[in-house]
């Protein structure tokens, strides 16, 4: 897929709460095709302490308006600076980057997002529903403040929620939700993004119960286009760049995840 470098216009920047914001950018021309699971490298202007671009996953795409939405957690100086972007300003991005979630071969799909890991799953849910798949989304977080955009996920999927403090949905870890009880779990495929320990547990669960699984990794990277070789993950076939051969991987390929 051809990659582009564009100055995007900020057309929306909504602070969801003190931890998260929703940035909406409009392309200067017709948006290229963007696949679910892909990401962009976003330039951060106006902060001397931020040198590199920030890899940010695509939350949703609107081809009619030529806009892309990003659900971003304020984790450090880069994302904090981006959270102050004003409508009318421009943000430079390199995109679309990385591979994508595969199209499932069987119906009844479960998406599992932990915290801001839900970000790439909205566009995936929209994409899968449009293709006629039955989609469920399980969203987990520490507390109700970490459960984001539920109304959006409900447009495309049946939504289940867990919080560690029990402030919303079932209490406990996302991996312990009742829909994941082996005897009740009828999903054929699990797509997940979020903290690595969560994705490892889900990968083992999927493997042990004969379900397919794909995980989205968030390794630190410099270039995002396969040049710097900084973002590698150890696979059963050697180190691979998360930016070009990922960010979506079958956990069976990742060294130590299943095998």
């Amino acid at each position: 897929m051809k990659k582009y470098i564009h100055d995007m216009l900020v057309v929306g920047n909504q602070q969801i709460n003190h931890n998260y914001f929703l940035l909406e950018l409009k392309a200067p021309e017709k948006l290229p095709e963007i696949l679910p699971g892909q990401f962009v490298q976003m330039e951060v202007k106006g902060n001397k302490n931020v040198f590199l671009r920030r890899p940010i996953s695509v939350h949703d795409v609107n081809y009619k308006e030529n806009t892309i939405k990003f659900l971003i957690q304020k984790l450090g100086e880069g994302t904090n600076t981006l959270s102050h972007a004003q409508c009318g300003e421009t943000v430079n991005i390199v995109y679309p980057l990385g591979n994508s979630f595969s199209i499932p071969t069987e119906d009844n799909i479960l998406l599992v997002g932990g915290g801001c890991g839900v970000a790439p799953l909205l566009y995936l849910a929209r994409f899968l529903k449009a293709k006629g798949f039955k989609v469920s989304t399980l969203i987990g977080g520490r507390s109700k403040e970490d459960i984001l955009e539920v109304h959006e996920y409900k447009k495309h999927s049946t939504v289940y929620i867990t919080t560690q403090d029990g402030s919303l949905g079932e209490k406990g870890l996302v991996t312990n939700h009742s829909i994941l009880k082996p005897e009740k779990c009828e999903f054929s495929m699990i797509y997940t993004c979020g903290p690595e320990p969560m994705m490892r547990v889900l990968s083992k669960f999927a493997f042990n119960h004969g379900k397919k699984c794909e995980v989205s990794l968030e390794n630190m990277m410099a270039c995002g286009i396969g040049a710097c070789l900084c973002c590698v993950v150890e696979t059963r076939h050697g180190n691979k760049c998360t930016c070009t051969e990922g960010p979506i991987f079958n956990p069976k390929e990742l060294a130590g995840w299943i095998y």
Binding site: K2, L52, A227, L229, C230, E234
Partner: protein, 302 residues
């Protein structure tokens, strides 16, 4: 018409802007963003005798005005380069120069001899300055004796343009340059990265899996500029300057300090089309200063 051409021994570059090894892949990664045939040259990823996996993740840390890397020469080895990569890149209309690395002198010799037979590779860059490998690499480039020995050995087997990439992690870089010039180098490129470190205070851990890594980016530019200035006064062979070049003005400073050409490295990660802007900016500078060729400003520091 402004003449941007420069010469590194027999190698005629269409302009002095090249890309640094390990920051531009094999050029292919950048074709969506710029016309890579506009470059003076491309230094491809460090190539060793056999396949290397490099160091464990994490290999990168962002630092003020720069970054540390500890990739550790991940590459598929010289035979794979020749069979699979060379056929794809050999017809690019720019000079494809291979960065050569090894753990032993014999490994350097093996790689250089094999590359000597490739028609479309007009030069190699001998990497005796990689800070991220346990054996070889920088160990060769931090003593005049070993730098001279490995350069001499390669000069025996490599007949085309031989560039030696110098380490800044030395007390006197000019002495190193003089030593490799005497050993037969046609050019020196400098600087490789500076050995550095990053620590995560909250976790009380090193950020890089290797503890230390190589610092690059604008943070190192003043050091690189000083070293290029010192080396270009000490040797007769052409000097290729690199270290933190982000803009045309940065590149021009290196030329004024005595570099015949420059390499752009880390900047490619931030703007994959930056070299196009740097080439245009140099031409614009020459026009504003009423120079008819870039050679008029090389070493032109008042």
């Amino acid at each position: 018409m402004i003449d941007l051409g420069v010469k590194i021994k027999d190698l005629c570059l269409k302009n002095p802007v090249m890309t640094a090894s390990g920051t531009f892949g094999y050029g292919e990664e950048f074709t969506d963003f710029m016309d890579i045939s506009t470059l003076g040259g491309i230094f491809v990823k460090g190539t060793t005798g056999s396949h290397r996996e490099g160091n464990a993740y994490p290999r990168m840390a962002e630092t003020p005005a720069g970054m540390l890397n500890a990739v550790g020469l991940q590459n598929k080895g010289v035979d794979y380069f020749i069979s699979d990569i060379y056929p794809r890149i050999k017809d690019y209309d720019t000079h494809m120069i291979v960065n050569v690395s090894g753990s032993t002198v014999d490994e350097y010799i093996e790689v250089a001899s094999k590359l000597n037979d490739l028609d479309k590779i007009p030069a190699i860059e001998l990497n005796i300055s990689c800070p991220n490998v346990k054996e070889g690499g920088m160990a060769f480039g931090t003593s005049c004796h070993s730098a001279s020995a490995v350069t001499k050995a390669i000069r025996q087997v490599y007949k085309k343009t031989l560039i030696v990439k110098l380490s800044p992690n030395v007390t006197n870089i000019a002495e190193m340059a003089v030593a490799v010039e005497a050993a037969g180098a046609d050019s020196v490129s400098l600087i490789n990265t500076l050995l550095g470190m990053a620590i995560n205070a909250e976790r009380k851990t090193p950020v890089l899996s290797t503890y230390t890594g190589g610092l690059s980016g604008p943070a190192v530019k003043p050091i690189a500029l000083r070293m290029v200035w010192q080396v270009s006064k000490a040797v007769k062979i052409p000097v290729i300057g690199l270290g933190g070049i982000m803009t045309a003005t940065d590149a021009i400073e290196f030329l004024l300090a005595g570099a015949t050409a420059v390499q752009v490295g880390t900047a490619n990660f931030i703007d994959p089309a930056v070299c196009t802007k740097i080439i245009a900016g140099i031409e614009d500078y020459l026009r504003r200063h009423r120079h008819s060729s870039v050679s008029e400003i090389i070493g032109g520091l008042k």
